[in-house]
């Protein structure tokens, strides 16, 4: 059995639940038999990948759904072997180049080269190009992005790239200008709620509309999360009640604990403990930007308006540095230290006012 998210994923452009106008345009794009490189971007859980798979199906027929997994090996210039998992059909190949960290440049260059050098076997009935899907393009190193720019131009005759990113602000302008950028906005809460209703109907379950709205709210406009939450709710308690508990992701709880640690005591010793928590989050793969956002959200609850501004601006500053730097922990810790200093001063002053 598979998860609802995977089971009820729409497979046809015309069957998408929202952004229907965009779907029609996408359909007409591929009907002209050729299309430029695409850069699809939008927040997590908005349906980027779903749309891309629909697009490919429109293009190549149901053959793209016969997927196989393969581990490919590449050799870096320093003679290190890196392995990367790929998923491919006869017509396309998909890969997360960021899985190999700083060696992403080699993977991109070799992979695109490999794909581009082999032509389709029977080009009569099919398109004469293959498609390479690259995930998380905004997290690629600058080096890899520049390499991508060259490869894009060189092999344009035999392969098309579909790049997926959360935000294009970290994609270099050279790539942005070479691609048709397609924005997939996050679904609104009412759209999520209606999708949830639809899925529950297919599962022949009865979902109270109150719960649907609550789920949509809790999921933070992330449809994938909403569906997972909904399924988890169903497993925990069915029939649904409109006020039942919605399980939240582990890491959110963890971040909340960390935030309350920060608020409880503002000392160097406490910061040491907070650092261990942050390490744990990072090592378990929670993206540092989500840690930043989560911490900020929890911390500003206890601040007055003037301080909120101050804290938010510092958070933005350190988050920006984290993007440019190498070690997220440095900047997370600097932010926490800054907050502790500000908050301590604030508490001392308000205490002074009391007496």
């Amino acid at each position: 059995m598979s998860l609802w998210v995977d089971k009820h994923r729409p497979r046809d452009l015309m069957k998408l639940d929202y952004h229907k106008d965009q779907a029609v345009r996408l359909k007409s794009l591929v009907q002209q038999s050729d299309f430029p490189h695409l850069l699809v971007y939008g927040p997590s859980g908005a349906g980027k990948k779903t749309r891309i798979m629909c697009l490919l199906r429109e293009l190549y027929g149901s053959g793209v759904e016969r997927l196989r997994q393969e581990t490919m090996t590449f050799t870096t210039p320093s003679n290190k072997k890196v392995e990367i998992m790929t998923v491919s059909s006869n017509y396309h190949i998909e890969v997360n180049p960021t899985d190999v960290g700083i060696h992403d440049r080699v993977v991109i260059m070799d992979l695109v080269k490999n794909v581009a050098q082999t032509h389709q076997i029977d080009s009569s009935g099919q398109r004469e190009f293959k498609v390479v899907i690259l995930n998380e393009v905004d997290d690629l190193t600058k080096d890899a992005q520049h390499a991508l720019r060259r490869t894009m131009e060189k092999y344009v005759a035999t392969c098309r790239l579909i790049l997926i990113a959360n935000s294009i602000s970290r994609v270099i302008p050279a790539i942005r200008s070479r691609c048709l950028t397609i924005r997939v906005p996050a679904p609104t809460e009412s759209e999520i709620a209606s999708v949830l209703q639809l899925v529950c109907k297919k599962e022949s379950l009865n979902l109270p509309s109150d719960l649907a709205t609550r789920l949509a709210k809790a999921a933070d406009r992330n449809l994938r999360r909403a569906l997972l939450m909904c399924e988890a709710c169903k497993v925990q308690q069915y029939p649904f009640t409109s006020d039942q508990k919605i399980p939240e992701p582990d890491w959110q709880q963890f971040i909340r604990d960390t935030a309350s640690m920060i608020l409880s005591e503002q000392t160097a010793k406490k910061l040491g403990e907070v650092r261990q928590k942050l390490y744990e989050l990072i090592i378990h793969g929670v993206p540092p930007d989500m840690i930043f956002a989560g911490l900020l959200k929890e911390l500003v609850r206890n601040c007055d308006m003037a301080m909120k501004c101050q804290v938010a601006s510092h958070a933005a500053n350190y988050e920006h540095r984290m993007r440019l730097g190498n070690k997220p922990i440095f900047h997370l810790e600097a932010f926490v230290a800054k907050f502790m200093a500000i908050y301590k001063k604030f508490v001392e002053e308000s205490m002074g006012d009391v007496f």
């Binding site: 598979s2 998380e136 910061l271 922990i329 926490v336 200093a341």
Partner: protein, 497 residues
């Protein structure tokens, strides 16, 4: 030095020792014969020149080994710590009595007296040492342009070891012997497995103990000791490991005083007798390296230079270098001595516990300025800053100071990330070092062991762990963590049971 001792009474000749005594002279002779045939006039001149060079060699030989006169003769003369000597002596004693292929590994920094300890002890117990010297194996094509077949390095090495270990000299009638390897054939650096093979053979076939000596330095990644002698190898062959530390200043001072007495007794013609001041300088500037200390002393005491010159070239350091020396003032020679090398842990200590001294004018100053520290670690800024980041927190008491420090570290990371610009590396390091030294106004004085930076390898859950995922679908690690993980657990738990 060792080879010379051996050469006097050696029946067993290493197959590929540098035989620079025989072959070149032969060649010269043949050359001369040709010359003789050609021009009889020059014979006399040639012969004269030959004797001349011979004479010169003799002087040089005499001179070349001036260091020998200062070498320790007895166990008591060794600058090495008594306990260490005892450790080696115990091993030598137990081993000299049985004919097993026992193995010993001696490691330590350069010039800490590893080899000489072994030699002195071997002499004491009447053990003959045969040392392996890696031959030069340059392939010279024969006349028809083909390369001669050569044995593999490891095969020659093993042959030598077995010969040296199993056959005694007819000349000295002494059955106690020991094989010494200080110079490892470089084939073992490339393929350590070959070395294991050789050791295995040696263990089965040889009847003498063998000693390996490795110099080690903390900056060297291609450390032969750690590279070849892995812990598993040591265990497999039951290799006894004795590791030396660099010589303590007191021991070094004692050794140099002994040298001074030898000078004043025998060599007053060549040397000025060194004063206590000079010895102190040499001790300070040699960083625990006996060999370089003796060399420095030799240079410092040579006659010819006026004494005043020597004094001016002594740099008076402002700080005391180690806590154990009572003298506040330490001085170094300008032109002598090694550069002080500071380990990364040491450097971290200097940054996090900065010592401030007052200068004569009343202003305060760091004993180790940020510039000095930056200079030491400029080749590895990132790892040094990582060390600082890992360790700075326990030294701080006030959160405002921590804020400053953490902010500076964040800046540094930003600068260090720009690896294309060399200046950024230096600035990043400088920023981190200087601001950590300055930020802490209220340091905590407690013993804080230095920890290494944490390994931040992110471990995403695997698809196999989360059973419900679709098999042929490419999931992103981030998404797995942020969305799937929690709910997959909930869903699979309930449906599974």
């Amino acid at each position: 030095m060792t080879s010379n001792v051996k050469k006097e009474k050696k029946w067993f000749k290493p197959m590929f020792d540098f035989d620079d005594e025989e072959k070149p002279s032969k060649k010269i002779k043949t050359d001369k014969q040709i010359q003789k045939k050609q021009e009889s006039n020059e014979i006399v001149e040639n012969e004269v020149s030959e004797t001349n060079t011979g004479g010169k060699e003799f002087i040089i030989k005499d001179h070349k080994h001036w260091m020998k006169t200062f070498e320790p003769v007895n166990v008591e003369d060794l600058a090495v710590h008594n306990k260490k000597v005892q450790e080696v002596e115990d091993w030598v004693k137990t081993v000299s009595n049985n004919n097993n292929s026992d193995m010993l590994l001696m490691t330590g920094p350069v010039g800490c007296g590893k080899t000489i300890t072994l030699q002195v002890l071997a002499k004491k117990y009447g053990i003959r040492i045969t040392e392996w010297i890696t031959p030069l194996d340059i392939d010279i094509p024969s006349e028809n342009g083909e390369y001669e077949f050569k044995q593999r390095q490891s095969v020659r090495f093993l042959d030598f070891l077995l010969n040296a270990a199993n056959f005694t000299s007819l000349l000295d009638g002494n059955s106690k012997k020991l094989v010494l390897v200080e110079d490892f054939p470089n084939t073992f650096m490339r393929t350590p497995s070959e070395f294991t093979e050789v050791l295995l053979q040696y263990q089965q076939r040889a009847k003498s103990p063998i000693v390996f000596i490795c110099s080690e330095s903390h900056t060297d990644n291609k450390n032969s000791a750690s590279n070849i002698f892995t812990p598993s190898l040591k265990e497999q062959f039951n290799i006894h490991h004795i590791s030396f530390n660099s010589v303590a200043p007191t021991n070094l001072r004692a050794a140099l005083k002994r040298v001074a007495t030898i000078i004043s007794k025998k060599h007053t013609a060549v040397y000025n007798t060194p004063t206590a001041d000079v010895i102190e300088c040499v001790v300070n500037s040699s960083a625990g390296d006996v060999r370089s200390a003796v060399l420095n002393l030799h240079f410092a005491c040579l006659k010819g230079g006026s004494k005043q010159n020597m004094d001016t070239s002594i740099v008076h350091g402002k700080e005391s270098k180690s806590k154990t020396t009572r003298k506040k003032k330490t001085s170094k020679f300008m032109s002598l001595g090694k550069d002080e090398s500071v380990s990364i842990l040491h450097g971290v200590g200097r940054v996090l516990n900065p010592k401030v001294i007052e200068t004569d004018s009343g202003s305060k100053k760091f004993t180790h300025t940020p510039e000095d520290i930056v200079e030491q670690f400029i080749s590895q800024p990132v790892s040094f800053v990582n060390f600082l980041e890992e360790n700075y927190l326990p030294h701080f008491s006030n959160i405002d100071h921590v804020d400053k420090a953490a902010s500076a570290l964040s800046d540094s990371d930003l600068m260090l990330a720009e690896w294309r610009e060399k200046m950024c590396q230096e600035y990043g390091l400088y920023n981190a070092v200087a601001s950590l030294m300055l930020a802490n106004k209220a340091p905590v004085s407690a013993w804080n062991p230095v920890r290494g930076p944490k390994n931040m390898k992110i471990q995403y859950p695997t698809v196999r762990e989360l059973r419900l995922l679709e098999e042929n679908y490419l999931y992103k690690g981030k998404i797995l963590v942020s969305d799937y993980q929690t709910y997959c657990k909930i869903i699979s738990n309930k449906t599974g049971t």
